[in-house]
């Protein structure tokens, strides 16, 4: 016996319209997606590329994606878990790591399209706003897709954006959201931005902890200390990583062979015969149980 009147009647469920699957999962913002994918009809089948940046708890994902009716096509991808290959093993989700991932993706795409000699991009990361200058062949254009992230000033998404811009991609942007943009003076402080690109803010925190709370410094930055990276080595480390990325951005194939059978993520649909047989078995079981009850009584 319910205390209150049931709120969700059968009628409620009958009229309920579910949102799209990816909206229910909270993964896709369809309003933004429609506007990013919509290509001018008088450009017919020309693909429109999105520079997608997503953050997980331990990884940064940067991809170049174009959309078709059959599904989205990932042209190139870069993950921050590839950065150990270039010499960066710790701090894989900070602003500087996002910059490195964006840079890696940009160089990878340009190398794939054989445009990497033409568009070197900004070799020395100074933190200033840099836009690609078009040469004979027009630059590779993509649109930034942030997903569901709140675009505040200094967000790591814009770190990845800066990496891609310095790598040589043409992505329409404004410097308003880079770390170091001051709302009062309405200007990007390139020095501050450069600090963030080379994880200067991390180095600062390391210095503060070293002075005030050495035990916390030991626990918090244990991985850095294990590799002998102190607050002064951070800057040099990232310079080397940038150079290594520009030297060889090609993706490395994993050694794993493709599995013989594709892994199923949902249960397979039963055939009509199987379902009918299951029903017959269930009815038989019910009947035999009912007979037993009758016999007992």
């Amino acid at each position: 016996m319910a205390f209150a009147k049931a709120q969700k009647t059968r009628a409620y469920f009958k009229r309920f319209q579910v949102k799209y699957k990816r909206r229910r999962d909270g993964k896709t913002d369809y309003r933004a997606r429609i506007r990013l994918i919509n290509q001018d009809k008088n450009k017919y089948n020309t693909p429109k590329y999105r520079f997608v940046v997503r953050f997980t708890n331990k990884d940064v994902v940067a991809q170049i994606i174009s959309s078709t009716i059959a599904g989205d096509n990932v042209m190139a991808a870069a993950y921050s878990h590839e950065l150990p290959r270039y010499g960066l093993e710790v701090g894989l989700t900070n602003y500087a790591a996002a910059y490195c991932t964006g840079l890696l993706l940009a160089r990878r795409v340009l190398k794939m399209l054989e445009m990497d000699q033409e568009y070197e991009g900004n070799v020395e990361a100074t933190g200033e706003d840099y836009s690609v200058e078009p040469t004979d062949r027009r630059p590779f254009r993509a649109l930034l897709d942030v997903g569901l992230v709140r675009t505040t000033t200094g967000n790591r998404v814009f770190g990845a954006l800066k990496g891609a811009l310095d790598g040589g991609l043409d992505i329409p942007h404004s410097e308003k959201r880079f770390a170091g943009f001051s709302k009062d003076s309405k200007q990007l402080d390139a020095e501050v931005h450069r600090k963030y690109l080379y994880a200067g803010h991390v180095a600062n925190y390391m210095r503060i902890l070293q002075e005030d709370e050495p035990e916390k410094y030991q626990t918090h930055f244990s991985e850095y200390l294990k590799r002998g990276i102190g607050p002064d080595e951070v800057d040099e480390l990232y310079k080397k990583v940038h150079a290594a990325i520009r030297a060889d951005p090609t993706a490395k194939k994993t050694g794993k062979p493709a599995p013989k059978e594709q892994k199923r993520h949902n249960p397979k649909r039963l055939t009509y015969d199987v379902r009918r047989n299951k029903l017959i078995d269930r009815l038989k079981a019910l009947n035999s149980a009912a007979d037993e009850d009758e016999d007992d009584e």
Binding site: R33, I34, N38, D40, K41, Y44, I69
Partner: protein
Amino acid sequence: MPAGHGLRSRTRDSFSRPFRKRGYIPLTTYLRTFKVGDYVDVKVNGAVHKGMPHKFYHGRTGRVWNVTKRAVGVEMNKQVGGRIIRKRIHVRIEHVIPSRCTEELRLRKKKNDELKAAAKARGEVISTKRQPEGPKPGFMVEGATLETVTPIPYDVTNDLKGGY
């Protein structure tokens, strides 16, 4: 109060979204491409207010004559008074579906080309013309028994219902 003959009058049902299909429209509508000369059906999507055609064109099929940034130009016939005019309208992508009216023809053309090529290889001449359905063939009726029905003489007592 008089009825009113505004632009969207009498469109309460035709422009409304179907049951449980309101809200964002699926992305395929935006990903489709249209070329000049394609046949398209005009079907108004009430969720998108821009670039809506007039209610007359809802359910009509026409050919694409122009492609712009977010819309296509469609031309179709309209009877005005005693004559038929060829009308050209511009409609946004969301209100247009690729028509399947020529699908059957295209498939048949492809199949006929294949059949003709195969016949040519064998050296025979075949006709790929469609034939209308003829009269059904004759058949023998199986398992029929003959039952002769004759009228019976009229009996007053049978017909009287209830008491007599």
